[in-house]
Amino acid sequence: MIEIDRITKTYDGVHAVDSVTMTVETGTITIIVGTSGSGKTTLLRMINRLEEPSSGEVRINGESTLATKPHLLRRRIGYAIQGHGLFPHHSVARNIGAVPELLNWPKDKISARVDELLTLFSMDPVAFRDRYPAELSGGQQQRVGVARALASRPDLLLMDEPFGALDPIIRSRAQDDLRRIQQRLGSTIMLVTHDMDEAIRLGDRVAVMDGGKLVQYATPAEIISQPATGFVADMVGDVERPLRLLSLIPVSEVVEDGAAEGGALPAGASLRDALAACLWTGRTAVPVAHDDAVVGRVTLDAIRARAELHA
């Protein structure tokens, strides 16, 4: 559990982060969203003490971060930086293995870990491990930056816009990968983004920042259905709200018995996908399949009823 307790950072009398208090549960993904300059990066950097708070403190599992030497604290916390920050004079393998090396892992264990991570991020280890960062595309550099943060399997991962330079397809795959890795390892992730879609897609909880203040800290569904301020509502976007909400609900929640025409949707799809399928093909219901066997259908009426619950 990470407790952020009335933490404040002041630059020349201006509050970059203004008395933020929040608690992050172990094994969850918390997304910090906000516009540019709202203090997201500063908040994140105070957790691993790259920035010392002007006041307030952070406790990890009850222990104040001030109790550990900063560089030792940072070795325990994975950090993926806004704009990768790879070491240009080290190979991809050495970049990824940087923290394990600091922690004195044996060589063969490090190289096995490097290959595992490259594979995880869809980069062929044989082709990539000996390259230098300058020989990678922007998106590949960014993935290596995330791999470096994950390398030592830290319990806590801080990520500052890790997917910024990725195209939409790779981006959504990287998000899925991150989810999968997080669930498997049970790590706690705090991720900064200014993309509300990413926040809703990835977050167990979403923290919205505005002008250094934490204006709302809630589940994605609450953020969408009950935005605390006009700013949060703007971030969510009026027009997009119903669709964003539907994207959070799996079809399995409203599936009913009965048959429907046309191609089936997988049970893991969202109501937003189901709605799109209905509209696009002019159907009033679509079949839902689980492992290729049709288990029922989702109707347009059911989708509408579910959306209206929040109105």
């Binding site: 691993n48 790259l50 560089h71 030792l72 604290l73 940072r74 070795r75 325990r76 950090y79 930086i81 806004q82 704009g83 990768h84 920050g85 790879l86 070491f87 240009p88 004079h89 940087a98 923290v99 600091l102 230098y132 960062p133 300058a134 930056g145 470096r148």
Partner: protein
């Protein structure tokens, strides 16, 4: 590039011949020597003069590098930033002092021989290395520096593993400038009895023997050109490593 492939070995061969087999060049230099005077310098072996010349330059540059880089590291730390202007002023003064004056002042203290020359070359070599090291260490990519702290390197590890390797190509440029200045300046050392190739040039000047002057000048010049070239190659190689 192609020219370099032919020119470089040619210059090396020419230099080796000038140093090891000076007698071969007697016909070339003969027209420049005074009538009936000696054509080829024979009072000392050119090889031993060359080695002593290079040795002085290497020792002075090594010392200057050590001091300049250490100083640059200190004044680019947050705690040393206050000393940066002062240290630059001192390094600049070393540069504005004429080498002849350094020799003249150092002789009474250190006596005749290599000592005063070493001091002069050292003082002269400081500034370019110091300036380049400061520039290199204070313009490192910020995201990389942030990541170095972020992954948990302590200050020493950050310096040794990230800052110095990344700054190396630019520091090397400073060393190259120093070496070339020192190769030329070392010739003046002969006036206070340091064993350098300046001996040949000065002997020529004293006896009106242009052949000597040319011989000495040519060898010093070739050393300078070839060493400069070698260091440029090394820098380019390192810069590629750093992802230039």
């Amino acid at each position: 590039m192609k020219i370099g492939i032919v020119l470089r070995p040619a210059l090396i061969v020419l230099l080796l011949a000038l140093v090891l087999r000076p007698a071969w060049f007697a016909p070339v230099f003969a027209p420049l020597a005074p009538a009936n005077g000696p054509v080829i310098y024979e009072r000392a072996s050119l090889l031993s003069l060359s080695l002593s010349h290079l040795g002085l330059v290497a020792a002075a540059t090594a010392a200057a590098t050590l001091v300049a880089v250490t100083l640059a590291i200190l004044v680019t730390r947050p705690s040393g930033a206050a000393f940066r202007p002062l240290s630059r002023t001192i390094a600049n003064m070393g540069q504005t002092f004429p080498p002849v004056a350094v020799l003249a002042l150092a002789v009474p203290v250190l006596g005749f021989g290599s000592g005063p020359t070493l001091v002069a070359l050292f003082l002269y070599g400081l500034l370019p290395i110091f300036e380049n090291a400061i520039t290199a260490l204070s313009t490192l990519p910020p995201a990389t520096m942030e990541a170095a702290r972020g992954i948990g390197l302590n200050r020493w590890q950050k310096l040794m593993r990230v800052e110095l390797p990344l700054a190396l190509p630019v520091i090397l440029t400073g060393i190259r400038l120093s070496v070339v200045i020192a190769l030329g300046t070392a010739t003046i050392g002969s006036t206070v009895a340091a064993r350098t190739l300046g001996e040949v040039i000065i002997a020529g000047l004293l006896t009106n023997n242009t052949a000597y002057v040319l011989q000495g000048g040519l060898i010093v010049g070739l050393f300078a050109v070839l060493i400069y070239d070698a260091l440029v190659q090394l820098e380019a190689h390192l810069a590629r490593r750093v992802g230039g």
